[in-house]
Structure formats: structure tokens, C-alpha cells
């Protein structure tokens, strides 16, 4: 199985604090990876570097055919291909659950409203929250918010060439 994520000898400093030093690993297609470490050991930083939320000081990162550390990176396409669920879920509080899930398909993939509505309801059904479609995130419990965030991820899978990656206390990695 070809590697879908290749991290090669990355290092990162925040000011004078060295957070990552010579970190390397690969993730093969279809596998699930958990990154475990003490708090403050650089787990989140490494994962943020994969989606280019942070830049590394040295080393190479390749994700699903994108050379993240190289020049000429199509950031927009990278973001469409990599899905992230944040620790604090980061749902948009002023939108209903349904509107949250429909946002990216409508704006990024330019899907039509009825079609986006249909797919969104389908993924909500998958995570068992179809009855909460018209609720706002503040009305849901933490666990339910997490499921909505996962539904958003599954929604992204519906688009072609999608790669799924979950950042959580336990990090998951997986792809199609």
C-alpha cells in the first residue's frame, strides 16, 4: 500500500522553544494511526503542520500527492482534500447544525441548495442526529457536537479525492 502521508525529518521552533526535532513517520492508505505523547510534546503541532496551519522550519511533508513544504502548493486544493476535526469542534455558533454541514458544499464545491440539503441530511442520519438538524450548536451536548463535526468530515468524503484525518485527543488517520 502506498503511503498517503509522508513526514520526513521535520523540525519546528516557537521562538526559543524547540517543539519538534527530527520527526519522521509515514501513514499507509487504509490504516488508522494514533499519535500518543505527553501534553506539550508536539502532537497537535505535528498534525497542524500536515494541513499547513503551521509551517515547519525544516524537513518535508507530503500528503495525498501534495508537497506541503514545497513551493507551488495549491493550498485551497489541499484544504479540500484533507479533513480535520478540531479538539473544540469549531462549529459555527450562528448557524444551525444543517447549515454548518451545508456551508462548505455550497460555497466551496458550488453544490445547489436542494442537493446539498439532501447530502447533509444523509450524513446527519449516519451519525444519528437527523432530528437535531435545526438546532444550534449551543443546544447540543459536547458529544453531539463532536458527531456533527464528524458528519461534516463524512460530507467532505462525498467529494472526490477526499482524505480523512481526525485530530482529537487520540489522533486518527485514514483515507480513501
Amino acid at each position: 500500500m502506498s503511503p498517503i502521508v509522508e513526514i520526513d525529518n521535520i523540525s519546528k521552533c516557537f521562538g526559543s522553544t524547540r517543539v519538534l526535532e527530527g520527526v519522521s513517520f509515514t501513514v499507509r492508505k487504509g490504516s488508522v494511526v494514533a499519535i500518543i505523547g505527553q501534553s506539550g510534546s508536539g502532537k497537535s503541532t505535528a498534525l497542524r503542520c500536515i494541513d499547513r496551519l503551521e509551517t515547519v522550519d525544516s524537513g518535508h511533508i507530503k500528503v495525498c500527492g501534495h508537497d506541503v513544504t514545497g513551493p507551488g502548493l495549491d493550498l485551497h486544493q489541499l484544504r479540500r482534500d484533507v479533513g480535520i476535526v478540531f479538539q473544540s469542534y469549531n462549529l459555527f455558533p450562528h448557524l444551525t447544525v444543517l447549515q454548518n454541514i451545508m456551508l462548505a458544499p455550497r460555497l466551496v464545491q458550488k453544490a445547489r441548495k436542494p442537493q446539498a440539503h439532501e447530502t447533509a441530511m444523509a450524513v446527519l442520519n449516519q451519525v444519528g442526529l437527523a432530528d437535531k438538524a435545526d438546532h444550534y450548536p449551543s443546544q447540543l451536548s459536547g458529544g453531539q457536537q463532536q458527531r456533527v463535526a464528524h458528519a461534516q468530515l463524512v460530507q467532505q468524503l462525498a467529494a472526490p479525492r477526499a482524505l480523512r484525518r481526525q485530530i482529537n485527543e487520540i489522533g486518527h488517520g485514514g483515507c480513501h
Binding site: H76, N90, F92, P93, H94, L107, V108, Y136, S138, Q156
Partner: protein, 237 residues
């Protein structure tokens, strides 16, 4: 009424409200002009203010500096002088503008600066995590601004904005100084015709209070339409 009759006996002044009230149609016309002037200035001032706030927070350094300078000049000079500059200045530069247009332009420029500061505070209160989440689902910078940043930002600062626009309506009285036929200008005319100054201005003061209530009511209605989350949950963002 009791106070007034007491006043009648102790003061050398007989209150007579019938004289200014005979001008009721003019007063109503003046009030209508005030309302249309205020609402027009509110709408365009809001748009200008939002654009300025975006320039200040998300624009280049040069854009932010320009916006900052504009805001400082407006906030540190009186509205009266701004109105004079727009009205007299534009016509001396060759542009013939009516009093209502000049008044609207001056009010828009003025309230735009105050709106910009208020909206900027709202934009800066949006947590960075929201921006990152928007980035990660692939929204462009403009899409993020329009769908993720501005709606909650404006909802948050809505009370401050509405107070500012009610103040604007009161400040529109300044346009009487360039003969825009709004309520205070009508009052000035009536009192010089009837010599019933105190009564006229008391009536007009009450009229402004009523218009303030009307404007607050309109903004409350607008909030219920624009912020469905607030209407349904009743909690602030």
C-alpha cells in the same frame, strides 16, 4: 397641565401651545424628513463602516492606515463643521448639491467612522479557531468574512450599533444649520413666526423622543428578522 397652570401664575409667561400646534402639518413633514434622512444615512453609513472595518482588520497596512486616519479626523471634529465642509465645500468646488443630499453625505461619512470602530471590535471578538475551521473546510478569505466572521460580529455589536444610529437621528438636527427642512429647521421657522419658542421646542423635544422610540422599535424588528438564532434561543452569542 397642573404644572403649566402653576407656571402660568408664578412666571411672566403664558403658555400657549395652540400657535405652534397650528403648524402640525409642517411639523409632521419635518419629522418625516428627519426620519428619511436618518434611515438613509444609517443604511449607507453602515455599509461604509463595515467596509472600513474590513480594511482596518483584514486590509493591507496602507489601507488600515487610511481607514484609521479617516476615523480619527471624523471623531475629533464636530459634526457641524463636517456638514459645513460638505455643503459649502462641495458647491465651492463646482458641485451643486441640495441641502438634503449634502446632509446625507455628511451624516454617512460621520456615522461610517463610528460604525467602523464598533464593527471592528465585533470582528476582533471572533475567536481565531473559527477562522481556522473556515480555512480548513476550504472557504476563501472573502467567503470566510461574509459567512463566518461578519454575521456573528454584527450580532454581537448590534446594541452598540443601534444606539449609535439613534444618536445619529438626534444629531440630524444639526442639518437645520444648512437649511435642510428637517424637524429642528421647521421648529426654528415656527418659533420665529409665532414667538412661542418654549412651546415649539417642547413639542419638538417630545417629537424626537417619540422618534427615538420608533427607531428602537424598528431596529428590534430588524434584529428578529436578521438574527434567527437570537430570536429562537434568546441568548447572546
Amino acid at each position: 397641565m397642573l404644572l403649566l397652570s402653576a407656571a402660568n401664575t408664578t412666571l411672566n409667561y403664558a403658555f400657549d401651545f395652540s400657535a405652534p400646534l397650528a403648524y402640525a402639518p409642517d411639523l409632521l413633514a419635518g419629522a418625516w424628513t428627519t426620519l428619511t434622512l436618518s434611515l438613509a444615512s444609517t443604511f449607507f453609513g453602515f455599509l461604509l463602516g463595515v467596509l472600513c472595518a474590513i480594511a482596518n482588520t483584514k486590509g493591507t497596512r496602507w489601507m488600515a492606515r487610511c481607514a484609521g486616519a479617516y476615523i480619527e479626523v471624523i471623531r475629533n471634529t464636530p459634526l457641524l463643521v463636517q456638514v459645513f465642509i460638505v455643503y459649502f465645500g462641495l458647491s465651492s468646488l463646482g458641485w451643486q448639491v441640495g441641502a438634503f443630499t449634502a446632509a446625507t453625505v455628511a451624516l454617512v461619512v460621520n456615522v461610517g467612522a463610528y460604525t467602523s470602530e464598533i464593527v471592528r471590535a465585533g470582528i476582533e471578538s471572533i475567536p481565531k479557531g473559527q477562522l481556522e475551521a473556515a480555512e480548513c473546510i476550504g472557504l476563501s478569505r472573502w467567503q470566510t468574512l461574509l459567512h463566518v466572521v461578519l454575521p456573528p460580529a454584527i450580532e454581537r455589536v448590534y446594541p452598540a450599533l443601534t444606539s449609535q444610529y439613534v444618536l445619529l437621528m438626534l444629531a440630524s438636527s444639526i442639518c437645520s444649520q444648512i437649511s435642510a427642512e428637517e424637524l429642528t429647521a421647521v421648529a426654528n421657522r415656527i418659533q420665529s413666526d409665532t414667538y412661542r419658542s418654549v412651546e415649539t421646542y417642547l413639542i419638538v423635544a417630545v417629537a424626537y423622543l417619540l422618534m427615538s422610540l420608533l427607531m428602537r422599535g424598528l431596529f428590534w424588528l430588524l434584529a428578529r428578522l436578521a438574527f434567527p438564532r437570537r430570536r429562537r434561543l434568546g441568548t447572546p452569542l
